[in-house]
């Protein structure tokens, strides 16, 4: 077995540990009153040990892949997203030892699981580095930024727990519907994973030729049955699904197809859950956090932002600017990725000021942490995959 295979298997181990850890934490919560001074019970202890074993496997994946590729494994979507998941678990473990709140585990670990599963849907091959990425700053900048983002993401884990406890899911209100929407979005990510895995097990592949915005003829490969066709497409593969609709050149129909399949799969999944359980996902999860101390959750959410904000600023703005100055001759170029790092920074600055001066605590603050997570994920997913960054050499 080569190093890269070992690395891949370690990631599997981590994934299963987190999965088991989630259920153990679920058990830990039910056992005892979570507000008491002695929060950790035997379930909690086992849960955190399993989580730590998972994290060590995850870290070992990271290191072995680093050795194999010769550069920090944070240079493509799969690698970066997996690392992001790893740092979320790390932040959670640290937080667990600070506050000993098992309830955080039932939310943090599933989020980490979703993120890793999402990452695994991208090509996992080792890709060679273009010249601008061949720098120690790649390592320094990306790792610090990812760490900062994951600490900030943990604040929304606490925010979610807070809302789960405090939103009244038994009545239909704007708030409870919005919260159920959050749950639905989580299921959609699962939908993406299920859709991608299904079609990849089927070995689905179909090639198209199309005309892009600048009238160049190009080729592309769909990994899912084409619902939408690229601009002026011609099919190159036989016996594959013919697109239902052609899209203008501006829209990447291949990505749109992926999005629509994910929504279809996710929605079916969501409906199934609802049919089986006969109630909303949020009210199903609610009993898990019954014993949680809301005020402590609120404080954890705030504290995570406080801890994550400087790390994020250092990694995603300061180190980023230094590297940009070295690689691209300017520390700032209003590239979409840069702008969204700035937006994240401004957003959390606004969060801190709101909290400080307007006393936005409790529910309001918890919702704000969720919006923050949305911005971070937008930067990770949409800005990387949809909005075109134009400064690349390749």
């Amino acid at each position: 077995m080569s190093l890269i295979d070992i690395s891949g298997n370690l990631l599997y181990i981590a994934f299963f540990c987190y999965l088991i850890g989630t259920f153990l934490f679920g058990g830990a919560i039910k056992e005892k009153n979570d507000t008491a001074a002695s929060r950790a019970d035997k379930f909690g202890k086992v849960a955190i040990i399993v989580t730590i074993i998972g994290f060590i496997a995850h870290l070992a994946y990271f290191i072995t892949r680093w050795i194999y590729t010769g550069h920090a494994p944070v240079s493509n979507m799969f690698e970066f997203t997996t690392a992001f998941g790893m740092f979320i678990v790390l932040s959670f473990i640290v937080l667990y030892y600070m506050y000993k709140v098992a309830a955080l585990g039932v939310v943090a670990l599933p989020i980490a699981l979703l993120i890793i599963a999402y990452a695994a849907m991208f090509p996992t091959e080792v890709s060679p580095l273009v010249p601008s990425l061949q720098s120690h700053w790649l390592t320094i900048h990306v790792i610090t930024a990812a760490l900062g983002q994951s600490i900030l993401a943990i604040s929304s884990v606490a925010g979610l727990v807070y809302l789960l406890k405090n939103v009244n899911t038994k009545v239909r209100s704007f708030e409870s519907i919005m919260f159920e929407m959050v749950m639905y979005c989580g299921v959609l990510v699962l939908g993406f994973v299920v859709a991608t895995s299904t079609f990849s097990i089927m070995n689905y592949e179909s090639k198209f030729e199309y005309v892009d915005t600048l009238d160049n003829v190009k080729q592309t490969t769909y990994m899912m049955p084409a619902i939408f066709g690229m601009n002026e497409y011609t099919e190159l593969s036989e016996d594959k699904m013919t697109p239902v609709m052609e899209m203008p050149a501006l829209i990447d129909a291949r990505k749109l197809t992926t999005v629509v399949w994910s929504i279809l799969f996710g929605s079916v999944l969501y409906l199934l859950i609802r049919l089986v359980l006969r109630r909303s996902v949020s009210s199903m999860l609610q009993p898990l956090v019954k014993r949680v101390n809301s005020q402590l959750m609120d404080e954890i959410a705030y504290r995570s932002v406080l801890i994550g904000f400087p790390v994020f600023t250092l990694g995603a703005l300061i180190f980023a600017m230094i590297w940009a100055q070295v690689a691209w001759s300017r520390f700032w170029g209003w590239d979409p990725k840069e702008v969204w790092a700035l937006i994240t920074f401004l957003y959390y600055a606004a969060f801190l000021h709101l909290r400080l001066s307007k006393g936005w605590e409790g529910k309001k603050s918890a919702w704000l942490t969720l919006v923050g997570l949305l911005i971070i994920l937008f930067n990770l997913v949409v800005v990387n995959l949809v909005i075109a960054g134009l400064h690349s050499y390749a």
Binding site: E125, V130, S135, T221, L346, K358, I387, Y393
Partner: protein, 558 residues
């Protein structure tokens, strides 16, 4: 200005919420609160007390945190709108008309609107700059407005506080010590010192404090932000910033734009690619090869002191360097970056002067396309004159050949060939794949033999004297946020009355969890009565009861 006289006899400035000496609440509003408002220690901040002149009004506007947050959000929204479509500087067309066409061609009606609203160049728009400036002003004014009174009251803290102040802190304890009542204060003092508190004692009162410096964190980070914004504005001052670029062919030496008296020579341009088999994302996007290295082997020269400006004859070598991406050549604050390249640019073209029928050559000539000669001597007294040269031939206009640019992308020539048979000369127009003979049939032709090519490198020249300012701004900012975020200001006031009863009050600006851990240790060590958090609901059960009531009040069941 009116003064507020506290019962304790201390005169406070108007607008003060908590007496600066004893801590009694002064305003009616403040007296009604169960927990005192400890922001800025209850001092009077300027914006809350002055509201008469226009200056006051402007001051109050910018010092309002509400306004500050609004400004942050507006900046955020504008910045995000600018990422919907690529900005103009990423679109490689030159004129405004072309840009407009680009946006409407590629993005349809949306692109048209986007362009006409100026969103395609939003970051250089005066509106965006005004917004950033307003944010800067807001930061400065808000910091002065709150920072100074805060500093004063933190500096002049009294140990003894009035009972009404103590009672209205968030965390309090009251009662008889469980044991050792005589030593309570000694035990407290000892334990708090152990916990790294600075302890002051006056009679039977103790004030213990820790991490006060963290209160200055926000002010320090705001200073950093201001320094950074100032640094960015320095770019506008001439002399602080040079941004230029140059194309340099292999073997060529040229004066460096923006760097007086220096020349750069391109000895060689190297492009290396990874030899991996395309896979994954690379395949999906149809990218065949991935670049591995872009490199210009360059030599930097300096003119001798007495040389004529722009003359390249008399140069001293300064240094040789391999300019690569991520490894710019640096000299005296200037940096040269590998930014672009063009491969296989035509360097010279080689022709044979050939007899059309016999195919016999009278000799070969090599035309240097960047520096062609007027006349080329060949065998047997034959010669060729170059009457005209069009480096980038773009067709005829009114019968006259045109050149699009000065780069030899599509060279065309008008030759006059002098041979023994035609001593008066024959004229021929030669372009790639095209020959015209304006004066009828010629005997000789210029037969294309070969081309030589070379690579060209595109370098960016950058000089930025604002970098140190930005760097210092960044460092100050980081120090400030770390101070304010990773430390917090904890205070504990304790008083013991003659009968042994202890009154304790505790405050921290953030992180109550750790504050309570300190208090747990203190309570334990000094046998104090259990503290209560006045903000926390007493028990979970009570909270659940409240939850039930809410359920019944709110809306219909799901």
């Amino acid at each position: 200005m009116n003064k507020l006289l506290c019962e304790c006899g201390h005169e406070n400035p108007e607008g003060t919420k908590l007496c600066q000496k004893c801590g009694r609440p002064l305003s009616a509003e403040e007296k009604d609160k169960k927990i005192a408002d400890m922001r800025y220690e209850g001092t009077a901040i300027r914006s809350k007390t002055h509201n008469k002149s226009i200056i006051d009004k402007v001051w109050n506007f910018f010092s309002s945190v509400k306004v500050g947050i609004a400004l942050i959000i507006i900046n955020l929204v504008v910045a995000s709108i600018g990422t919907i479509l690529p900005q103009e500087f990423y679109v490689s067309v030159a004129t405004d008309a072309e840009k407009e066409k680009y946006y409407s061609d590629v993005y349809g009606w949306f692109g048209e609107i986007y362009y006409s609203l100026g969103l395609s160049d939003v970051y250089s728009s005066i509106w965006f700059q005004i917004l950033v400036l307003m944010l800067g002003v807001s930061i400065i004014i808000a910091s002065i407005d709150r920072g100074i009174p805060l500093h004063k009251s933190l500096k002049n803290q009294r140990v003894k506080r009035h009972a009404s102040f103590m009672k209205r802190q968030r965390v309090i304890a009251e009662g008889q010590p469980i044991k050792n009542a005589d030593d309570t204060l000694e035990l407290v003092e000892q334990k708090l010192k152990e916990l790294n508190y600075k302890v002051r004692r006056e009679d039977q009162s103790i004030l213990a404090e820790r991490g006060r410096f963290s209160r200055y964190g926000p002010y320090v980070n705001h200073v950093g932000l201001i320094v950074f914004i100032l640094g960015v504005m320095l770019h506008l001052i001439p002399g602080f910033y040079v941004d230029d670029s140059m194309w340099l062919r292999e073997g060529e030496t040229r004066a460096i734009p923006g760097m007086e008296g220096y020349f750069l020579k391109n000895d060689k341009f190297i492009l290396e690619t990874h030899d991996n088999a395309p896979q994954g994302e690379q395949l999906k996007q149809g990218v065949n090869v991935v670049a591995k290295n872009f490199q210009t082997n360059a030599t930097l020269y300096k003119q001798k002191a007495d040389a004529v400006a722009g003359q390249a004859d008399d140069l001293e070598e300064v240094k040789e360097y391999e300019i690569r991406v991520n490894h710019p050549l640096k000299h005296e604050g200037y940096a040269f970056y590998q930014m672009d390249y063009r491969l296989n640019e035509l360097k010279s073209m080689i022709f044979d002067l050939t007899h059309k029928e016999t195919e016999e050559s009278l000799g070969q000539l090599t035309i240097d396309l960047t520096n062609p000669e007027d006349e080329y001597e060949l065998n047997d007294g034959a010669k060729v004159k170059l009457l005209a040269y069009y480096p980038d031939f773009a067709g005829f206009k009114d019968g006259v050949p045109q050149t699009a640019t000065a780069s030899p992308n599509n060279p065309a020539f008008i030759f006059k060939m002098f041979t023994a048979e035609k001593p008066e000369g024959e004229t021929s127009f030669v372009a790639i794949q095209q020959t015209l003979e304006p004066n009828g049939e010629n005997i000789y032709k210029m037969k294309f033999a070969n081309v030589e090519t070379r690579n060209m490198t595109g370098l960016t020249i950058r000089y930025d004297r604002t970098l140190p300012v930005l760097f210092i701004g960044g460092i100050i900012f980081m120090i400030g946020v770390v101070m304010g975020s990773y430390w917090n200001h904890r205070r504990i006031w304790i008083e013991q009355s003659a009968d042994g009863t202890v009154h304790l009050a505790a405050h921290t600006n953030k992180n109550w969890f750790s504050m309570k851990k300190d208090l747990d240790k203190l309570t334990d060590a000094a046998h104090l009565p259990q503290y209560v958090d006045q903000q926390e609901p007493a028990t979970n059960e009570q909270q659940e009861l409240e939850g039930k009531e809410e359920t019944e009040k709110e809306g219909k069941p799901l």
